[in-house]
């Protein structure tokens, strides 16, 4: 494999060359099919904490990190920078929608080892950032793309309101565009994903990327090696390339 990967798997995996496994930590994540208890994590593993933590949450995390060894952590709550000030573990900041410029990424890098760029930026923007900050930037390159994170239990509320059977996931469709979205919830909130898998494998050719993050929790594979081999060598057939070639706007054109 020519690239370095961080992979969110759906089961505990054996160590692999050029791959770090990133395990969503039970009780500290929202939006995953499978979370992993701290007992399952070894000092060779990275943990993923994507919750915006309340006071109780960050104190609970402190307790866990004080008594367990891990290799590193990917996180979204900047309280974790403060929490890990004196700990020698790799710190990777991943704000799914808040690191969109080279200036912002460079600033975060004063406090962490790596930054994973946000999802809503173009390939041109990514290139410019990587050139500016080589070997410090990770890219989310494959998997369901999280589009919204709410603290509310949005599936439960709907099911309670209509007296429906309780579930933890739901498919919804916007009737005009026919776009479908996938919701998944736990007690800490709800994540809405685009129903199409994001596939940014064209980013694999960029020089200077520190690593590529792949979320394989919704994929069928026998062996991760096989998945990666085909990911690196075959072309994407029907997946979605997100915002790589779709620049968003924020001012509406004048009326008339």
């Amino acid at each position: 494999m020519k690239n370095k990967y961080f992979i969110i798997p759906k089961k505990k995996e054996e160590k692999m060359e050029n791959v770090e496994f990133l395990y969503p930590l039970q009780g500290f994540c929202v939006g995953f099919l499978k979370e992993f208890s701290i007992e399952e994590i070894t000092e060779e593993d990275y943990i993923y904490v994507n919750r915006i933590l309340d006071t109780e949450g960050i104190l609970a995390l402190k307790k866990i990190l004080d008594s367990n060894k891990i290799k590193g952590i990917v996180f979204e709550d900047l309280g974790i920078v403060e929490l890990l000030k004196d700990k020698k573990i790799k710190k990777i900041f991943y704000a799914t929608h808040a690191t969109c410029s080279k200036f912002t990424a460079q600033t975060y890098l004063k406090y962490v080892d790596y930054v994973i760029l946000s999802l809503d930026i173009t390939q041109e923007e990514i290139k410019e950032i990587i050139e500016y900050l080589p070997n410090s930037i990770g890219l989310f390159t494959y998997g369901l793309m999280p589009l919204m994170y709410s603290r509310r239990t949005l599936i439960k509320n709907y099911e309670v309101h209509y007296n429906l059977e309780e579930t933890n996931d739901l498919w919804i469709e916007e009737p005009n565009t026919k776009e479908q979205f996938y919701l998944i919830q736990n007690e800490y909130g709800t994540v809405i994903y685009d129903s199409k898998k994001y596939d940014g494998r064209e980013l694999l050719n960029l020089e200077g990327v520190a690593f590529h993050l792949l979320n394989l929790q919704w994929d069928n594979y026998e062996k991760i090696q096989d998945f990666l081999k085909s990911f690196e060598t075959e072309k994407s057939l029907e997946n979605w390339d997100g915002f790589l070639h779709q620049k968003t706007i924020y001012r509406l054109p004048p009326k008339g």
Partner: protein
Amino acid sequence: MIELLAPAGDLEKLKFALHYGADAVYIGGQNFSLRANAKNFSLEDIEKGVLFAHERGKKVYVTVNIILHNEDEKGLEEYLWNLSRIGVDAVIVSDIYIINLIHDLKIPLEIHLSTQASVLNPLAAKFYQSLGVKRIVLAREATEEDIRNIKKETGLDLECFIHGAMCTSISGRCVLSNVLTNRDANRGGCAQICRWNFEVEGKPNYQMTSKDLNMIPYIEKMIQCGVNSLKVEGRMRGIYYIATVIVTYRRLMDQIKKKTLTKEDTIYSLQILNRCANRESTPQFFQKLPSEEEQYFQGREEISNQDFLGLVLDYDKKEKIVTLEQRNYFKVGDVVEFFGPNLETFSMQIHTITNEQKKNVLEANHPNEIIKMKVEKPLEKYDMMRLKVIDKANIL
């Protein structure tokens, strides 16, 4: 002093917000701010707004809360220096680069951290404190316990939303708008997808719209928690909404300070605010996780009203005649109410209406027409007349 902080989408709204009792306003410039499609303030208007506020001993904060893309950095430094030169009292920022830039260049601007940064715990607050942030606008998801803990651990100035629309997502954690409309939510283009309807195969339609926030029942508790600034949402709202919401909270805060607040006052305030916003509101996250009760499922259930009838332009004390600018239809016989920042709200029945041609008419049905009416109690310029729909005497 506990600050009442109002939104202002333009200079007129800024003046109304301050006139109706806000201690400070927050405004957006034409660049680097969310609400990109609001009218927003030119630098010249910001300067006028700051002058107007400072002359009255009040403050102006400017939102610079965009999430930057590479291309957005151009002009930022000059803009920040301009805000400093104008003398704005603080900038509200969410992108860490902008915080750092102000700090590194030693631009004399007080930094308030935007709610877009989603601070919910003391360690996150400490992190930003170490960057020079003086005040944090806490995430709307902050509970009473979170607020108390952050205050206790950091001593930072805390600002909390008390009223207005809510994002369904944690602020800044949503790009549904980007996907469905190509409009960038985090650069001010949000198309409010969380207020749309969705279909679910074999099940009722899905909606995730949050009811509005309304902290009337908990204002006293928020003050006890150590909140320094009570913030109202709504830079896109009109003057009637701003005036009604601000004067309601102003009175409530003053009554709390004087220890004269009654249950009747609280219920009346709630009813007035719900009517004014056209939709229901609840306290949301302060004491519990919002349930299905805090959401809409079948449309927004908004009932549009035309309660705002007129704006007072002048009052002739000798003749007891008010000059009003009409804002919505009213007629002889209607029971109306006058309210204002220095006015004990009172109601009366309309007996005469005189139009601009000095003719007595039965109805005021031309938008913005200037009319005169007999009103026994004295009024001031910028007081407002509304339809009387809630009778305080009938509460309790």
